[in-house]
């Protein structure tokens, strides 16, 4: 290249500073491609001499290269870091491996089952390099380069038998191809939705060709071909049956794993049922298999493009994998059940997402991606209902039911000066701003539990900003229709009311997930349940505030004799009554628990905060726990002092008064719960979620009852000790500890959100 340029330069006779651009755009463009002449010079001596001149600790480095990055460099020749290091006796197994060597059909069953187990381990979050790719058979089918399907074969070695056995060259090959394509489909599905790489799932393929250009059907054809070949083999019936079931399982999996499309939702319930059916048969025939651990080796990592240190091969077995496989199929069937809910309301959608995510154990990343896909693909529910209409319906049903501002005819007005034209524009603009964060709510619910809590915390301030936007939009709407605003009471802000509701709910969730994930220390429980009670009570009040306006509207429609609109408003009110009961129950129960924890604290049954700890002042603790909520405008958060005052019991407080308060709170929670429980599915927005709804109610009820039992035990203890007020405990802590102790803050809970302390009597 260099000589070319010089000649060009000479030819023009002028100095051309930008030679390369001339070169590219000029005369030589049409000339044949000349490969770059690369010269390589040995600089071993110069380099080592120069580096010897450096002082101890002196580095010569690129200015843009940081030492922080340097820490991430893999050290060559270090067995823990360098996956390419030779270990001759172990590597021989990989290098000399002959995929076509004969084996017993029973051993093939064993290999297939091991592969299926690895597939599940991968789904669980391990890398392919420590699971499926450790199979030497998989290793010999995989390369980084594209090849047509018929060229993806077990390569012939000098040790290979003259005529490779069709069980290997066809049956095992087809099975492995099925795995590769399944992995590809799973990666496609997961990466098209929201997930956390490495935390949830590892999509890394180490640049191996995963049959990306091949359709699922083509691989299914290979599998069917293998089934025909298998049928022609002379084998004992049970072994043949076992191999057949494994091939069929792969066929069903490939059908079920076909990535979701943006335009049309295919109901995969039956496909996953077929998978379940096959799984059972595979499980029944598993004992026929013989393990061949020598055909799996983590040393294949030496051949994988990877900037990670070597990782150990996972130990797993079919016994572990089978229940997981079943869960995968069941979770997917459950996800597709969403389609059976006819015309779900927006709150119903969120409810379904919660119930799906609450399944125990939590559905795998793949299943959660499928659920996300069904809800969000193409910005539509089930590729049908646009998210924007979902948002509009949510606003309507919550705070704008029967509001003439939402009359569809407003959107048909074309006169730019008409107030109806303007109002519909304002609402459209607000919805455009709100859509992303609104749809993010169900999306967050489908993440792993820790991320859920984190993103809810982050979402609080975003929703607060949205509430401010909503207030502006509401004010503009008021200025357009001053008459409507002239109500006897203060002006209603329907869009802001909608945003406020969601913000409060997300705040509650973020706190409750904190309890579920054991984020808080025992001493903090009283404090945080008090705060949860505050947020839930605020939501209950807010809902009643909305209800008041809806009530006025309903009366107006009744007066006008507009029964249809009156009914519409009434049904919104019923839903709001349900939500209010729910918020009230949470508020009352949280307050009861806060008092209970305060009581335990005053009895010295919970470890006291270390007063000598300089970095743990109440102000700092308050700031830490309130951090996600501090930036918000409404509600005004209680100050550190307020919280302290309401959490710590004063020395004069009498135990009888505290216990009476807790009991009445628990009773109020139960009353609210029964109102909540008796609401029908359509009003409560839990259609299609009846089972989970019942479980939830029972979980909360169980937690309330358990709390009641703890309270009566403590009451008995206090009476036995003869304590009247909190100050009486001073100096007599040991007496209490001899009678009762707090075991744990609810290891096994009736409901994850409610951490009821487990208190037991001490038996001497």
């Amino acid at each position: 290249m260099q000589p070319d340029l010089t000649r060009l330069n000479l030819g023009t006779g002028a100095v051309q500073p930008a030679m390369s651009s001339i070169h590219n755009g000029g005369v030589t463009r049409s000339s044949q491609y000349v490969p770059r002449q690369m010269t390589v010079r040995d600089i071993t001596k110069e380099f080592s001499d120069a580096s010897a001149e450096l002082q101890q600790g002196q580095l010569v480095k690129d200015d843009f290269f940081t030492l922080f990055e340097a820490v991430g460099a893999l050290e060559i020749m270090d067995p823990k870091m360098d996956s390419g290091l030779l270990i001759p006796d172990k590597d021989a197994a990989v290098d000399n491996f002959d995929p076509l060597q004969n084996m017993l059909p029973e051993e093939m069953i064993g290999i297939m089952d091991q592969l299926l187990s690895f597939e599940m381990a991968w789904h669980q979050g391990y890398a392919l390099s420590q699971t499926l790719f450790t199979s030497l058979h998989m290793y010999s089918l995989l390369t980084p380069y594209y090849r047509p399907l018929n060229a993806v074969l077990f390569g012939r070695k000098r040790t290979s038998p003259e005529n490779p056995h069709p069980l290997i060259s066809s049956v095992l090959r087809a099975f492995c191809l099925g795995i590769i394509k399944s992995c590809d489909a799973v990666i496609q599905e997961i990466t098209s939705e929201h997930y956390y790489e490495e935390e949830d799932f590892v999509t890394q393929t180490f640049t191996q060709y995963m049959l990306n250009d091949v359709n699922n059907e083509e691989v299914i054809t290979e599998l069917h071909g293998a089934l025909v070949i298998l049928d022609a083999q002379k084998l004992s019936e049970d072994v043949k049956h076992a191999l057949e079931q494994r091939l069929l399982l792969r066929v069903h999996l490939l059908e079920a794993l076909e990535p979701l499309s943006h335009v049309e939702v295919v109901d995969k319930t039956d496909m996953w049922k077929a998978v379940l059916d096959s799984l059972e048969k595979v499980n029944d025939t598993g004992k026929l298999g013989k393990a061949r651990p020598d055909l799996f080796s983590e040393r294949v990592q030496r051949h994988l493009a990877s900037n990670t240190p070597p990782t150990p091969m996972i130990k797993t077995s079919w016994e572990e994998a089978y229940p997981r496989f079943k869960r995968l199929a069941e979770d997917n069937i459950e996800a597709h059940r969403f389609a059976s809910i006819e015309d779900p309301s927006p709150l119903n959608v969120t409810r379904f997402a919660w119930d799906f995510s609450n399944r125990n154990p939590q559905p795998s990343t793949y299943s959660r991606s499928v659920m996300q896909g069904l809800l969000f693909k193409g910005q539509k529910l089930l590729a049908q209902t646009p998210h924007l209409s979902l948002l509009l319906e949510d606003i309507r049903s919550l705070s704008m039911s029967g509001d003439p501002l939402l009359s569809p005819s407003n959107w048909e007005v074309e006169l730019p000066t008409d107030h109806r034209f303007l109002s519909s524009r304002i609402i459209d603009e607000f919805m455009a701003k709100a859509l992303d964060e609104y749809i993010n709510i169900p999306r967050m619910i489908l993440q792993n539990r820790c991320r859920m809590r984190r993103t809810f915390c982050q979402s609080v301030s975003v929703l607060d900003g949205l509430q401010a936007e909503a207030e502006n939009a509401d004010a503009e709407l008021h200025s357009l229709f001053p008459a409507a605003a002239a109500s006897p009471l203060e002006t209603f802000y329907p869009l802001a009311a909608w945003a406020y509701f969601h913000k409060l709910r997300v705040m509650e969730w973020s706190l409750q997930l904190g309890f579920e994930l054991d984020v808080y220390q025992d001493q903090e429980m009283a404090y945080l349940y008090r705060f949860l009670g505050f947020v839930a009570a605020t939501r209950a009040e807010h809902l009643q505030h909305i209800d008041l306006y809806l009530h006025l509207r309903q009366r107006k429609y009744r007066k006008q004799g507009n029964a249809v609109m009156a009914e519409q408003v009434a049904s919104s009110q019923a839903s709001i009554a349900f939500l209010t009961a729910n918020a009230t129950c949470i508020a009352e129960f949280a307050s009861a628990l806060a008092s209970l924890y305060a009581l335990l604290y005053s009895l010295h049954l919970i470890k006291h905060l270390d007063d000598g700890e300089v970095y743990s002042t109440s102000a700092l603790r308050h700031e830490l726990r309130m951090k996600p909520y501090l930036p918000i405008g409404t509600p005004t958060l209680p100050s550190s002092e307020d919280m302290e005052a309401s959490t710590l019991l004063s020395p004069d407080a009498t135990f009888s008064a505290i216990i009476t308060t807790i009991s009445s709170r628990l009773a109020a929670a139960k009353t609210a719960l029964s109102a909540w429980k008796s609401t029908d599915a359509a009003t409560g927005n839990y259609r299609g979620c009846e089972k989970a709804f019942k479980q939830e109610v029972q979980g909360v009820l169980g937690s309330i009852v358990a709390t009641g039992i703890v309270v009566s035990l403590l009451k008995k203890t206090v009476e036995e000790c003869g304590f009247r007020a909190v100050r009486d405990v001073e100096g007599r802590e040991e007496e209490v500890k001899k009678k009762v102790k707090v075991e744990v803050v609810g290891e096994k809970r009736y409901s994850g959100f409610w951490a009821v302390p487990k208190v037991v009597g001490v038996t001497n």
Binding site: D42, S51, L74
Partner: protein, 101 residues
Amino acid sequence: METSNTEAVEYLHHLLNKTLRIHTSDSRIFVGTMKCTDRELNIILSLTHEYRQPSPSTIADAAYAQQLSGSTENLKVDMVKRFVGLVVVPGKHIRKIEVEE
């Protein structure tokens, strides 16, 4: 002493961000962009590819395949190449350093 240090630094500096080929004691070759070095001749390369001699069994298999096909040409087996990213090659394992120009 002082001047030779300055010269050494200058020399090594001009090699920064050039493509180096480092041969290691286990006969692998690492080809990557030089980012950093020190007195012990430890070298950090980024965007590195590892090249390895094919294993004896691979060569034997290739020879066998060639024999089956009846070809009499010289046997040619490619080196095995893979991407390994950011690596540090310790000085004590370095046998040869080359620069691509």
